[in-house]
């Protein structure tokens, strides 16, 4: 149902954006097989429409640097129709001139939409299991202390077989805006590339000293980004060397079956084959992950999980050299 409504909305958007008369669109509906074939095309045009719209809205809001980032990301798309490219090029140049900074193409990493694009490829096993029924595991997490269960990362590993290697994502955005990381918790399959983009007007210096993946992007001005690959599973705490109040979590998982709980603790993992699983729940406020067992049959599974909230929040986040910082000092 969700895919249908998504495609419908996307089709309507495309119809509005690229000209087929709305009446014509209503006359014919593609059957499911045709929709599946059309899906890559629709996704491409959806991306075009998204970048174009976001760029125009940013322009209207006077955020020319952001508008330029969107237009430049659009221009960097493969197989962009010539007429769209021709229309966007002057806009991109004008926005960059007004907004300052460097064009996306000059920055490290592959161009990427400036805001988190949640329409990543569906999480599924690689190689795709043949034959077995795939079910959706959904449920809710409770606990997590005063902050609630939001941001809990639920992972499933096969306990009676090997867990397939997940398909890495490319250029998953993790942006800095209003001196916050967005999103606050991001889970990615091992091997994924994450693009750290500064959308504030001030500098940021994203780093981590977590054993799972220590890194330092260095100083990044407004509009700059850096893309890093995360090749080891583990939890990476993200901090800013300039602003001690900023933190976020990147959870690198070595399973295709994972989800991040929403603010109410609800989560959903799709396309899980039947079998026995070890369930692990990580939460930023839990000193230890919660672990349990799960057997999945041919029906959708519902889980009720609980995670601790016992971990003390560090009042003195370290700088990139490991020295504690008092947040009330300086800036």
């Amino acid at each position: 149902m969700k895919t249908h409504s998504a495609l419908t909305a996307a089709s309507l958007a495309l119809a509005l954006a690229f000209g087929p008369p709305a009446q014509g669109a209503k006359k014919k509906r593609a059957d499911p097989a045709a929709e599946a074939q059309l899906r890559p095309l629709i996704e491409k045009h959806l991306t075009i429409a998204h970048e174009l719209t976001a760029g125009l809205l940013a322009w209207d809001a006077g955020d020319y640097a952001l508008a330029a980032a969107h237009f430049e990301a659009l221009l960097a798309l493969k197989d962009l129709p010539d007429d769209v490219a021709a229309a966007i090029k002057p806009l991109a140049a004008d926005a960059r001139k007004k907004g300052g900074g460097k064009p996306v193409a000059d920055q490290t990493g592959t161009p990427e939409p400036a805001t988190p694009a949640p329409d990543e490829p569906e999480i599924e096993a690689t190689p795709k299991p043949k034959g077995p029924v795939l079910v959706t595991v959904s449920g809710s997490v409770t606990g997590g202390g005063a902050g609630g269960p939001g941001g809990a990362v639920v992972t499933l590993h096969r306990s009676n077989g090997s867990t397939p290697r997940p398909t890495p994502l490319s250029n998953k955005p993790l942006i800095q805006r209003d001196k916050k990381f967005l999103p606050h918790v991001l889970a990615v399959p091992v091997g994924s590339r994450v693009s750290f983009r500064n959308q504030d007007d001030i500098f940021h210096n994203v780093f981590s000293i977590s054993p799972a993946h220590a890194f330092d992007t260095g100083l990044k001005r407004a509009g700059d980004s850096e893309t890093l690959a995360f090749d080891k599973p583990g939890v990476v705490e993200l901090l800013c060397n300039i602003h001690a109040s900023m933190n976020a979590w990147l959870v690198v998982v070595d399973t295709p079956w994972y989800a991040v709980a929403d603010g109410a603790g609800a989560f959903r993992i799709k396309k899980v084959p039947a079998g026995d699983y070890d369930v692990e729940v990580w939460h930023e406020n839990a000193s230890q992950p919660a672990r349990s067992k799960l057997t999945i049959g041919e029906e959708s599974a519902a889980l009720s999980l609980s995670v601790g909230g016992d971990k003390r929040t560090n009042p003195f986040p370290p700088d990139k050299y490991g020295k504690p910082r008092q947040q009330q000092l300086g800036y």
């Binding site: 909305a9 958007a13 809205l57 007007d201 991040v260 929403d262 020295k323």
Partner: protein
């Protein structure tokens, strides 16, 4: 742009329907805007002699004008084992005392409560640091201090400017940044901390400029306060006795390379001496500081010159009312080295051995100058995230002007953070 807005709405509904559950971006942060933290600092110390720097046969008056009464500190606040001058007149150049004298003793140095409120809707931070100083020995009084209470505003999103009003940390030098027991690597403050780490009421600003090509930032701190940067034992902490503000500030450069950090700065303080009422009786201080961090190794140094006019009357400070406002000059410096050795994620987290060398030269007008040198060696062991155990030995040496006295100290501290 109505077409664009319609498109955006449709796209948003489309994207929401297709969203995978791999991110969490709450509208309000997971953490409460109100945070309460603190620590309890329990000490144990053994001081040589009677726990003071007063030589037994010294007859000079005032007794505290010819020796460094702050030298044998036993805790992070700079409190000493004793300031008992055996009846000789003193003029308020004294630290606070735990009054354990030469007796090996446990003591509760500080119970600290930090309350921070940072609402999401406005760029404000409200911070208070309350400290209880439980004192049980004869001649001591349990005290509740409001060490800090200020509001900070960040007026511009595009500039790294912060303005604070209230009672806050000094902006002079760098030692104030680790002046609390849970943050300080070692146990005791330096010999010059008495001039640089006081809190005072007033206004403060902070500004930073980044130079990305050099991995460098320039910082400027400036404050206009009632009392300047001297610690409370030497200056009334919350009152302006002269009616004129004291100005202080620091200009700093920090180079934040991937594996190494260099920070250098220069500080000043200028204004009326705030331990008396005359606006023309002034004080001036200059400071320089530098720190290098390479992986776990840290090296820090700081120098201070301070010059205070004499001539006022009715001196008042955190110890009470005194008689003389003598002209005074001092200079001092310290060098501290430490190495933080990570021990893992278990109970034993980090071991940090350290050593500090310091010297202080001072003179009251009309009295002999004296010089004191101190060498400190010790270690800090961090257990889990909540406990720190520190122990150190201080060798105090009177080099010039002050008669030698046995006033070395072994002191330790168990800091429980919550």
């Amino acid at each position: 742009m109505s077409r664009a807005l319609l498109l955006a709405a449709l796209l948003l509904s489309s994207l929401a329907a297709r969203a995978e559950d791999d991110t969490y971006a709450p509208a309000t942060p997971a953490q409460s805007p109100l945070q309460i933290n603190g620590y309890v600092d329990l000490g144990f110390a053994v001081a040589q002699g009677d726990g003071t720097s007063f030589p037994a046969n010294d007859t000079r008056l005032p007794a505290d004008y010819g020796v460094d009464t702050f030298a044998p500190a036993i805790n992070t606040r700079g409190d000493v084992a004793s300031t008992d001058s055996h009846g000789r007149f003193t003029n308020g150049f004294l630290p606070h005392s735990m009054n354990i004298n030469g007796t090996p003793s446990f003591f509760l140095s500080t119970v600290d409560l930090d309350v921070k409120y940072a609402p999401q809707s406005v760029p404000l931070l409200i911070f208070t640091r309350l400290q209880a100083l439980p004192r049980f020995n004869a001649g001591t009084t349990t005290t509740l201090l409001v060490e800090q209470a200020f509001v900070r505003v960040i007026p511009f999103k595009s500039q790294e400017l912060a303005l604070s009003a209230g009672k806050f940390d000094s902006v002079f030098g760098v030692e104030y940044q680790e002046n609390e027991a849970n943050l300080r690597t070692n146990v005791t403050p330096s010999l010059i901390a008495r001039y640089t780490t006081g809190q005072s009421l007033g206004l403060k600003s902070f500004y930073r400029i980044q130079l990305p090509a050099l991995w460098t930032a320039l910082t400027a701190n400036a404050a206009m306060t009632n009392g300047g940067t001297l610690v409370e034992a030497l200056s009334p902490p919350d009152l302006s006795l002269s009616g004129r503000p004291v100005f202080s500030g620091r200009l700093g450069v920090e180079v934040n390379l991937p594996v190494a950090q260099l920070k250098v700065g220069g500080s000043f303080m200028a204004g009326p001496r705030n331990d008396q009422h005359g606006p023309t009786v002034r004080q001036r201080a200059l400071g320089a500081d530098g720190r290098v961090t390479v992986r776990g190794f840290s090296l820090g140094a700081e120098l201070v010159w301070i010059d205070q006019d004499g001539g006022g009357a009715d001196k008042s400070n955190g110890l009470g009312n005194e008689q003389l406002v003598s002209a005074f000059f001092a200079r001092g410096e310290y060098l501290i080295a430490s190495y933080g050795l990570s021990l893992g994620e278990g109970a034993l987290r980090k071991l940090t051995p350290y050593a500090r060398f310091e010297r202080r030269h001072a003179q009251f007008e009309g009295f002999r100058p004296y010089t004191v040198q101190r060498i400190t060696a010790g270690a800090r062991l961090d257990l889990w995230d909540e406990l720190a155990l520190k122990a150190e030995y201080l060798w105090n040496r009177e080099l010039q002007g002050a008669p030698p006295v046995d006033n070395n100290v072994f002191t330790s501290s168990l800091v429980f953070s919550f």
